[in-house]
């Protein structure tokens, strides 16, 4: 048997944490991880944030981000130990034998240079090909990655192509020097599902045609199942399980892996609509500033008391604008919004305090939705003070009640947001919304920034609270799995219009219109071969092309 291309033995990675106000301390980020990768094979590294998957990926370049040190074990690439290699050796290896595809292509490309210049840069730098040969290879790769106008797209600047195209251009950049190994670090995570599927297909084709080996890092098991041969599950910097794709998905051996696979399996039976809707959005149109085009055009939906309406669509479809219009942050241009039987004033400043109390909002990024200089008790207590005039002990008691409701115990009231984890932050935001005793909560992508297991917890909490408090949700998301878990009715949005609207069972049942079909079929499923089947059967091209 030939030696593997990449072999990592007992890797240990440490970093020094300088937390403000505390003495610096050492933390172990990756502990005793071993893996080996043969030529032409793809290994998926999967885990939640903080699992050390990106750190391990970068260690194949013998690189540690900001203060991270590779302190133990061996990393062997092409029969050469590289963990302790000197800078010159590493320079000759990076961008030549191993290349890297980053998560956010938009941030990784230099906006001032043309794509072609950047795609062939490493190849020319290492003197691997002449400029003409490199450009020809780049154009070939553009074609393989099914980028439009492969001959000329290299002459564009990064802002002149879409996010999905940019991600593919980055893949071309990584493949151009004919490396032995490519590290894909969450290459499709920042993309819409409908775009993700195309990028995924392009990456898979390119890997197959060039015969390169790859480490594919992601937190989405369904995605990694489409492109890899093997999967390694990581948690807290340790290996949990390692096996072939088939074995991991069909016969996981560890509880943690099983939890990852069964994630988003919340059952939610839809409730029938009531006679009296809580919120009626009628023929609403809205636009930003002096734009000539409506962002929302002629939208009509209803939310029933104690129920959930999910707004689904890709970015730019007008979902979040809808929330802004309902809150009055963006006054509507035409149409009418009725809440609890009365017409809501168009603009926020004209609304009475009672209306403001009844409609609360939870944001996608819990970090920036809370004032970093207020304690949790202040954050949750302020609405109590503001709407109900609660003070002192009464207020503290109610804050504690709310903290219990969101399953955070005692002592959390004194913490600052920076001292909470992502899921806890989102829980505090939920408590803040609940404190106002609203009838409607607008949830804007509240689980998108969270790891699957944490997001699951949040969804369960939201469902619990709905059952207990009878609050209605307008749930904005791009994730169909979340919709299945939580919605009673669904509105599918596309380019500012409601494409399809009705009870959950109706919307998710065929016959579909073309867009809904594309959206639904683009959600990765945890099956081997899903990608090929879906691409073969779909009817509409996604907008990312």
């Amino acid at each position: 048997m030939p030696d593997p291309l990449l072999s990592i033995r007992n890797l240990r990675i440490e970093a020094t944490v300088h937390a403000p106000g505390e003495p610096s301390r050492e933390v172990v980020i990756v502990d005793d991880v071993s893996l080996s990768l043969d030529r032409g094979k793809v290994m998926g590294l999967i885990g939640e944030s903080g699992a050390g998957k990106s750190t391990i990926g970068l260690s194949a370049l013998a690189y540690g981000r900001g203060g991270i040190r590779l302190t133990g074990g061996t990393i062997t690439l092409n029969n050469r130990e590289i963990r302790l290699a000197d800078a010159a050796t590493l320079r000759s290896l990076r961008g030549r034998e191993v290349t890297y595809v980053a998560q956010s292509a938009a941030a990784a490309f230099n906006p001032a240079k043309r794509l072609m210049e950047q795609v062939i840069e490493a190849t020319l730098h290492h003197g691997l090909m002449s400029r003409e040969a490199a450009e020809a290879r780049a154009i070939d790769l553009f074609r393989t990655l099914s980028l439009p106008d492969p001959e000329t797209i290299g002459q564009r600047y990064p802002h002149q192509v879409s996010g999905g195209q940019l991600q593919r251009a980055m893949t071309a950049m990584a493949l151009c020097p004919k490396p032995d190994l490519v590290i894909f670090d969450e290459p499709t995570t920042a993309l819409d599902v409908t775009t993700q599927i195309d990028v995924l297909a392009a990456i898979k084709t390119a890997i197959a045609q060039t015969g390169v080996a790859a480490l594919y890092i992601t937190h989405d098991l369904a995605v990694v199942a489409q492109v890899s041969d093997e999967i390694m599950v990581l948690r807290h910097g340790k290996m949990v399980e390692h096996g072939t794709v088939q074995q991991i998905i069909e016969a996981p051996r560890q509880d943690y892996t099983r939890a990852l696979i069964s994630v988003r399996s919340i059952e939610h039976t839809e409730k029938p609509p009531s006679a009296q809707p809580l919120l009626v959005v009628q023929n609403v149109s809205a636009r930003y500033g002096a734009m000539a085009k409506d962002v929302l055009s002629n939208v009509s939906v209803q939310v029933h008391p104690g129920q959930t309406l999910a707004l689904v669509g890709e970015s730019g479809s007008g979902k979040s604008t809808m929330a802004r219009v309902i809150t009055g942050l963006l006054p509507l241009r035409a149409g009418q919004i009725t809440f609890d039987g009365r017409t809501l004033p168009r603009a926020l400043k004209d609304r009475p305090r009672e209306d403001l109390r009844q409609i609360q909002m939870i944001y996608q990024m819990a970090d920036v939705a809370m004032n970093p200089r207020q304690t949790v008790a202040t954050i949750i207590g302020r609405p109590l003070e503001f709407y109900f005039g609660l003070r002192g002990a009464e207020r503290d008691a109610r804050v504690q009640e709310l903290l219990d409701a969101i399953e955070l115990g005692k002592g959390y009231g004194e913490r600052y947001p920076a001292e909470l984890s992502g899921g806890q932050k989102q829980r505090v935001c939920i408590a803040r919304a609940l404190a106002a005793k609203p009838k409607l909560i607008l949830c804007d992508e509240v689980t998108s920034a969270l790891d699957p297991l944490v997001a699951d917890g949040i969804l369960k909490l939201l469902l619990d609270l709905q059952a207990r408090e009878g609050v209605a949700y307008l749930f904005i998301t791009h994730d169909i799995a979340t919709v299945r878990a939580i919605a009673d009715s669904i509105a599918v949005m596309y380019q500012g219009r409601v494409q399809r609207y009705g009870a959950k069972s109706d919307v998710l049942a065929p016959p579909f219109d073309d867009y809904t079909d594309l959206l639904l079929s683009s959600v990765p499923e945890m099956q081997i071969g899903w990608l090929e089947r879906t691409l073969a059967t779909r009817r509409m091209e996604s907008a990312g092309n």
């Binding site: 403000p20 939705a369 809370m370 600052y416 920076a418 803040r432």
Partner: protein
């Protein structure tokens, strides 16, 4: 005071020394402020630690009383400029629209005239008293603070937590003082250290030009002015205030740096 870095400790001690001397001037100064106690420009000795000035007054006494005036005027002017500048800057950022335009363009107008020239013009028509000096310096300096606080607040104003406060129905004063101010503190503290020193230089300049603190009251700028001829004869009296200003600048900024690292901590500045 555990965990205070050495540099900050040094800064704190020196700043405290200067402010203490300023506050206790009448009790610690060895002689009367305008008492003539020796010959002209006597060298430093056991009797006159820093020597005497151009008409035979004790220089150390003059320095202590001068520091009292200089530090008092500079502190008051800085406080005024920060209260006014930060408040108007936040207001402009939070209200936006024509309020912002009016304040910001008005500010540009004042800033387009060099500070020293505006101060000279105003002070030449007004009676030069301490309150007038403080108000003039404070107003002129507040234009700089306005710029900074507006720029900082515009960024904070678009954060989700400010939007959340607006959606709750909070008034502008809650938004300004509770949501924006605590988050704008770090750059303002950094600016505070610098501004205070600039204020000291400014009042010294005015006094040197004869439009600041009026004789016989002492002031660091005035001491330079009174003793400047001495430099030609190798008398260092005029340089003593310069040394004092440098020392105080460094000390104040060491303290400001330390305060900065504390306020930058997202744990609400309660660390260390």
């Amino acid at each position: 005071m555990k965990g205070v870095p050495l540099s900050a400790l040094f800064g704190l001690i020196v700043t405290g020394l200067f402010f203490g001397m300023a506050a206790l001037a009448p009790w610690i100064a060895p002689y009367g402020m305008s008492e003539i106690v020796g010959d002209v420009w006597e060298p430093a000795s056991g009797q006159f630690w820093l020597g005497t000035d151009n008409i035979g007054r004790d220089l150390l006494t003059r320095m202590i009383y001068g520091g009292r005036n200089t530090i008092f005027v500079a502190s008051m002017a800085t406080a005024l400029s920060f209260c006014l500048g930060a408040f108007l800057g936040f207001t402009a950022a939070v209200y936006g629209g024509w309020v912002d335009q009016l304040l910001a363009r008005g500010n540009d107008l004042v800033m387009s005239i060099p500070t020293l020239i505006s101060a000279l013009v105003v002070l030449s028509v007004m009676p030069v008293t301490l309150p007038v000096l403080i108000v003039v310096m404070g107003l002129l300096d507040s234009t700089r603070v306005f710029r900074l606080s507006r720029a900082v607040a515009v960024d904070i104003n678009v954060m989700d937590f400010v939007e959340a406060a607006r959606l709750r129905g909070e008034g502008q004063s809650w938004v300004i003082f509770r949501e924006i101010l605590p988050n704008a503190l770090s750059p303002l503290v950094a600016e505070l250290g610098l501004r205070f020193i600039f204020a000291i230089l400014f009042i010294s300049t005015l006094s040197f030009l004869g439009l600041g603190i009026q004789p016989p009251a002492a002031d660091w700028g005035a001491i330079v002015k009174e003793n400047r001829e001495g430099i030609v004869y190798g008398i260092p009296a005029a340089l003593v205030p310069a040394v004092a200003i440098v020392t105080l600048s460094i000390a104040v900024n060491l303290v400001a740096d330390w305060a900065l690292t504390r306020t930058t901590s997202l744990k609400g500045g309660r660390g260390a």
